[in-house]
């Protein structure tokens, strides 16, 4: 089963995304950047949904950077999620190699569609 890691400090938002994804994926959750990165390195998921603004030393941008720099995680797709009004993050995130970018509040349907697209694309490669 495809693995997805959710990194968001808001437990309810994680829960909503988990519900949206349904039972089609194996979903792991982390509530901050440091534990998120740790989880990604251990699970080597197919995809990470990553919140940009998080407490602690590692925000989403730093986690993204670390994932993209890790040769063991070449196949891992990253979808960034950021709060409205943080759109300058978009430029930064895309330049660091994010595969998709969503602004909160995002459409769960679109998120799921995008995840399927990204993972299907990965299969073709």
């Amino acid at each position: 089963m495809r693995k997805i890691v959710l990194v968001d400090d808001h437990a309810d938002i994680r829960r909503l995304i988990r519900i949206t994804l349904g039972k089609a994926f194996e979903v792991f959750e982390a509530e901050d950047g440091a534990s998120g990165l740790d989880l990604v390195r251990r699970q080597r998921p197919d995809l990470v949904v990553l919140d940009v603004m998080m407490p602690g030393g590692l925000d989403g941008i730093k986690v993204l950077d670390a994932i993209k720099a890790d040769p063991a995680l070449l196949h891992t797709r990253v979808i960034m999620v950021t709060a409205r009004g943080q759109q300058q993050d978009y430029q930064l995130g895309m330049s660091l190699g994010a595969d998709a970018y969503f602004i909160k509040p995002f459409s769960p349907l679109e998120l799921v569609t995008r995840i399927h697209e990204l993972l299907a694309g990965a299969e073709c490669q």
Partner: protein
Amino acid sequence: MIASLASARQFMSAAPPMPPAGDSSREPELNAQLFRYAEDLQQMLERQIELEADYKDLLKASIPLAESRNQLNGLIDRSPDMHIVTDSEGRVLRCNPATAMLGRTEEIIGSLLRHWLSPTHLEQYEALQRRALLAAPGEAEDGTLHELKLCPGAPPGTSLIVAVQALPVLHEGKISSVHWIMHDVTRQREAQFASQISSAVFRSAAEGVVITDINGSILSVNPSFCRITGYSASEAIGRKPGELLASGVHDEAFYAAFWQSLRETGNWQGEIYNRRKSGEVYPEWLTVSAVRNEDGAIESFIAVFADLSHIFDETQQRVAYLAHHDMLTTLPNRLLFHERLQEVLAQEDSADNGFTVILLDLDRFKQVNVAFGPHVGDGVLQEVARRLLATVHKVDTLARFGGNEFAIIASGMTGEADIGCFCAKLLGALRQPMAIDGRELFICSSLGCATYPAHGHDEGALLKSAAAAMYHAKTAGGNTYSLHDVRGAVDDGTLPMETELRRALERGQLRLEYQPQVATRNGALVGVEALLRWQHPHFGEVSPEQFIPVAEAAGLIGSIGEWVLHSACRQLAAWDDQGVSIASMGVNLSPRQLRDPAIVDKVRAALTASGIAAARLELEVTESEMLFQLDADRYKLAALRDLGVKIAIDDFGSGYSSLGRLLQLKIDRLKLDRCFVLELEPQGDTRAGAITAAILSLGEALGVELVVEGVETEAQFELLSRQGFQVIQGYLTGRPMSPAAVAQRFTEFAGRSEAGCVHG
């Protein structure tokens, strides 16, 4: 289905993006995200509605085609049986006109056939459908008839019972659909059911039933006949009822009238005395009906009778109950009380152990009746009865003597301390506010006690003694009890606790502790509340809840209250001398104290003696203690306020909360009851949170300061200070403590804030 989707849709589109609720900064984020979910859901619902509409259109279009191919259409259309074809999912593809007994064709086509099934027959239906769909092609058709219960669309609540055949329909060698043939058997089943019921009634009726032929010979009897008369069926059949049952009570004329009525009207009904096999004569209520054949000739008689003997017994019991109980409260009345008391006096052991008779009279009950009407008065009496019942012991007798007078026989209770405790419990139970007819009432009572054998050896002496004691309690102001003394002198409380309490003052057993009141802004000590403590050498630490009522009942509250006032003011002055400046001192004022005509002078004296500015003394009055004597209380509070002292309402929100009345009283502070704080949740979205916020704005509007009592956790403190409360009192910010501890607390805080200034 569509309707529920539509209403869901309406709900979705009516829902605006949710406004940020609560205090958490993350609420708006979550709400916005939830709203996006709702929007997605709405899109999906709309798409589903479109799909369903498309599917229906498709089904309609396919019907004429199918019809033209079926040569049997004409026949099936005229069939009185329902013919229904369903697809492999059980959705109706076609149906014939006979299905009108189920619903309109356009309702049926496209619906799931299971929707028309009674829930009790769903399983059977599913099994039939499965079997039809799984039948091997060419397999002999299962011709078995099964019965199903259907629920037609209208009229609601009706049902159809049908004999059903489910036949597989082959299309290109595969089973594609099921042909249902349903034959209505509702009427047959109902008739069958009715006959089953009548036979069940015959067998199980509590009434005796006899069926005789035209000559009166018994053809059949039911089990109840045997039970009531004592004759078995074999003994009865072939005999005449008169031979078996005639009691000899009724004369010939009675039976003549009986037979005449039966022949002329076909009926007789009445009370009749019969005799059981045992010889016992009993009353029965008898109904005899003639059964006629199709030609109208009488064929047989059916007699149905109910044994009335036990009903007579019950009536007698009922009459006895009525004679011994008070109908309003269902408590024993004076008569039963009298009988019980006689029993107790006659029983040697209970007389040896002794007992106490307590008379209880509600204070100012007449005023309740006059002010609110007798129905409120009745409600009060019923509530009083309930509370007393919950308080007295099971073996005790609690009776209502009529009016507002109640009486108790407390078995085995003779010790003065026990009686005192019990009376305090009764008073306490009645003192709680009562909600009657939408009003909140405060009812007090007066109790008089007389103990056997000390205060009387017979009922008359005991009741007289208790009544005198009760009268004494009344004249002492009510809301108290008193115990009759054997010497005839009414003793208003030489109970141990009262005696000890009298001495407590002179022996220095009373002391005050002070509970800090703290500013939420910076934790500064802004005031204290003086709390009375009694350390007794034998009893140990006695709680104020225990001894204050005793002090009130014993008339000691005046002197104790005065001591508290003086001590508290002196303490404030002593702190001043030490450089410990405490802005205000709260002192509790009991209702008795408030009604003391000299109270204003006493307060003034305490202020003068200590040299404390009046504005620093805050008198705390509990709001629940003022139902009656409203004007007098108001006048007294105003007079105290004229002295310059502050008035606080204690335990606000716990009792008789008339905001209108609070507006009439000139007050300076409201002390919020701890019940609000106990309900506070850290999320800040509970009712209690809303109430505290509302009280806060009320306080601001009235220009009244608010103090929150009973704050115990950081979360409560956090929420209350966020809501804007300025002053907190509770275990979190300090338990009641000694004067020295208060001084230390003050010094520490002063030191900290000075240090803060230096570094800041």
